[in-house]
Symmetry: D2
Subunit: 347 residues, 4 copies
């Protein structure tokens, strides 16, 4: 069963509207146009419409002649032509397109419950704010109720940071960490479609993402091989003592939790003055981006990263034959039960 | 024109055989089986054979029952079955498969010269060794003659580190930085096939790679938006003053140099004792990996990363129609001339 | 420029509503949801909605328990499960889905005018009705104004056949012939993506299509090689005297007109009694399909085949770099001028 | 288990060397370069080399300046340039490339035995020769031992036809019919990847193939709907009384035998004089193709069509999860047993 409520449940965690994110009021009510019948998917593509009821094109009039630094404006104009460029918020390069990813991600997340697999992320670093070790999965999951999408008992520090950035009209980058709890073994296809490769592509397709790593990631250079040897033991299958490899070995999932991190750049739309070019005379000019932008796009980005991870896993479930063509009644019931539990957590 | 010498030229930079890498003697002589006629590609697939003349299966007898920590052994056994597992070096998950990537990369690199685009990388970090800023492209290119694949006037520090690791039977992780010089504008396809996404997938498909970033990458969380605003100016097209975005905006190349970094984990095959499971009785046992392994796989990995970047760019050249179906005589001659210059650099 | 009128122009030729086709009244008004800005495509995916305002689910109540012979009912029930089956007209396997193909085809057809390439088809055979030779392209094009989609000065015979079938509550199969006028040379990718292979796949994806051929097609067995030798001559490029190969040699377009034929089976939904199974008890039962069905689906199928051919050609234009990423003003103007002429023909 | 003998068994049925086919002596001994270990596939790509030991480039010297009518010569020269054209037999457009398809097909055919599915074809029509109805599968299978690849008790007529064509230096087209015995239900993916669509593409990718049909195919126009209604009944699943739809409904397999036909054009290389252009001066000239060509390429084409059908089915088995990632011992044993039986039939 899939209905609009299931999708809306996840959309809420991406939705702007608080003082810690964009103050835009996007209702984000999804409508399923086709693909289900009596609440069941028919095997047809799902078509979902999510209207944006709070667009303010007036905010974008200045941009019409002043491409914004850090945005896709100049690359779109070069590639597609100025005449074909939709200056009213960036079009397909707008962060708004990520609402579709979260809608699809909701369905993927629900389906992953067949194997009792869950995905959740949180803000690990932003400016001086930092969560040192990888928290328990439940703590991570409960960050979805945090206004700044981080571990609840640490969230105040990040709230203060965001408040001060908003006052300054400035922004900050951030690192998102995502945990996949209870992933199945054997996901990933050598040579080119390794799980790590597909995860990297899917998260790098998100606007604002500039890096992907898993396991040791970019700290690897600090370690000797002997320091990061991870003992193999046997307990109803091969297990790894410390999961140093972050759930993936040889590009294939080990069955241990998958732990990955994603780097978001600072929001480019800031109120401070920026130097750009006037498209009418190609001479230098300046720009202050008016609008209701996120001081830290990584915060709302957490849901988007989770969604892309969920979608990528489902792709590999299908490659591996884990998801059958049609779920049995029993399988459907298990999923519904687990979905209910999943929704009720942290409340 | 493509011949075996062109391919061999690049294979040399990946080839093991020095005391700073694996001491295996792989000759790596490529033979073009099909796809060319009178030195020209016919439009057919190129089939290239590179035999491995120095394989020593005897080194792998112990592994037959002892999966190696940090390797794909356990994931391959789980996924494909013990009976179907080729224990003699890891098969398709062996670093040996990367020789094919470099062979294909050689052809891609030569073709990129049509737009005068060149790619080169070097070791940026390994243990305490570190190159602070991004060097000039020529310095990076000349690292191909360094025995430890780093900037020549800094190479001694890294040589000492590698020597001491070899003595200890240990290994180290490393960060590779790659520069794409003179890339064309407008490469990259929104939404999912952004250039950054395809680059991420292609390098994450390399064995041992655990992270990808470009531009600010994982340091993004340290910066405020106002600190990393990059001025747009106009000089026969849009330009960026500092290239903070590493050559890509909105997933599309800006025309500025593309700067990316890749994290390699420490070589897992080390002489030190490791805990694993004996496959015959599933009880704990220990293993010291005998063989001729690289103390730092990132060193030989530089060529492999360069190659994957080159191949990915050529894919996008083709998507963008930059490479015509058949090169004109003039285009062929330009490429040959630039290839000669490229080969002669740093000598 | 693309607007709703352009799309509607082509949708009209597929639309039911006459006594020679289905008498359903589908208005088929297209609405472009996204992907254009000021009438120009932005490079984003086009989202087009075409509502079906004359669906009569009541017609499908009997089918709920009686799968229709000749339809996808039994295969969908087996594959996706009875619970997930949308019995109200076949869902994704309904002929209704082809309206999307024609909408996309309209855009493809307009874009093909850049090379002055046009596509048109007509009913070549249905029962005793038959058009012997391949007519001139203009005659074929003007069949779009025929109520039975065939050559105008022969249409009466086919009209009579259809009228009598409608009275009997019966249907007939048909052969559609399509001509591509002025195709470019060099479309088609050896080995597996030959132009003939991609055309075959695209038209066989249409509901009701059971065969594809081009050039000599299934008559080949009647001919000796010496009878079908086609002289090569030179006139600003290689030409073929008789175009026996139907515009494709070695899987690549020769530049001569592409001539292909497609077989449609008789409409399966007929008023006559059919034997099937009652899904409630799995016992034999009978069914007469109520509804407003086409006596010959090939008639409305002509537009759908044309559209799939147009879409497939555009795919190959893009592979071959014929269509630039952004059209110049001059190119846009040429297309608009030719589109106007194309629309005004046969009036 | 897969070994060279398995592959060679199928290659024999495509191999030339009799007076009824080409008199070339191609040994077609396959060598597995990589992908197996102890006779089992490891999950790696299989690399198989089949050398052509009887190539006679001298036969192709005249073609160097005289493109052959009916061949891909002119389209390859236009697309890839004369300088890049391998005139010695057509290169990638040569019928020789089909040996690879049969090698892959052998493996696919063996794997299909897991579901007890078998594929075989025969010559249905060539000139005046014709097999009226679809024969029993065993008769079709035994055609593999016929020198003219048709039903054994009818083969003499076809042998006479071929002998007389050889004497005249002429050739003939032909229709191949293929039966898939015991296919599984539910293969095929709506909308665009219907089983019929993928089969069409795969067989149209074969050199010389100009048409595909299944079930009623191009005879459809002769039938009224009421004449071809096929009763649905229930016997451990839905069954069809007459299998008029040829095993596929709505693009999805019904579980009934799949029956398809493929049209091959007459061999273009004939000894009779043909008109072409001299590439040196672009003036008219004539050509008689010297060489050892097949009077009817459809004869050796039967194996190639069977192979493409087998490969396409295996693709859909994998999409449907029918073939597990690793076969159990029991499954392997069933396949080996059935393969032995399959090989021994008709002897």
């Amino acid at each position: 069963m899939i209905n609009e409520d299931d999708i809306f449940f996840e959309l809420k965690f991406r939705r702007p509207g608080s003082i810690y994110t964009s103050t835009r009021k996007e209702e984000d009510i999804p409508i399923i146009l086709s693909g289900t019948f009596n609440g069941r998917t028919t095997g047809m593509p799902l078509s979902i419409i999510i209207e944006n009821k709070d667009a303010k094109p007036i905010h974008y009039e200045e941009i019409k002649y002043k491409p914004r630094p850090g945005h896709a404006d100049i690359t779109y104009i070069e590639k597609y032509g100025y005449e074909n460029w939709d200056y009213r918020g960036g079009g397909r390069s707008s962060g708004r397109e990520t609402v579709s990813r979260v809608a699809a991600g909701a369905i993927a997340k629900k389906l992953l419950l067949l194997t009792n697999t869950m995905i959740s992320g949180y803000i690990k670093k932003a400016g001086d704010f930092q969560i040192e070790n990888t928290p328990e999965f439940n703590e991570v999951l409960c960050s979805r109720n945090s206004p700044v999408r981080t571990i609840r008992n640490k969230e105040e520090d990040l709230m203060k940071l965001i408040e001060s950035l908003r006052k300054e009209g400035d922004s900050i980058g951030g690192i998102v960490e995502v945990i996949v709890k209870n992933p199945p073994k054997s996901l990933g296809e050598p040579v080119f479609d390794k799980l790590k490769a597909d995860l990297a592509k899917s998260v790098l397709s998100i606007p604002g993402v500039v890096g992907f790593e898993y396991g040791m990631g970019f700290d690897s250079y600090k370690y000797k091989g002997s320091e990061v040897i991870d003992e193999i033991y046997y307990d109803e299958g091969f297990r790894l003592r410390k999961n140093i490899s972050g759930g993936i070995l040889g590009g294939i999932s080990t069955g241990e939790d998958i732990i990955l991190r994603v780097a978001f750049k600072p929001t480019s739309s800031i109120a401070k003055e920026q130097k750009t070019v006037d498209l009418r005379d190609l001479k230098p000019t300046t720009l202050s981006v008016i609008g209701r932008h996120d001081p830290c796009i990584a915060i709302r980005g957490v849901s988007v990263v989770e969604s892309m991870v969920a979608i990528t896993l489902i792709d590999h479930y299908m490659l591996s034959g884990i998801i059958p063509r049609k779920l049995s009644e029993e399988q459907s019931n298990i999923i519904e039960k687990r979905w209910l539990e999943y929704k009720q957590k942290c409340t």
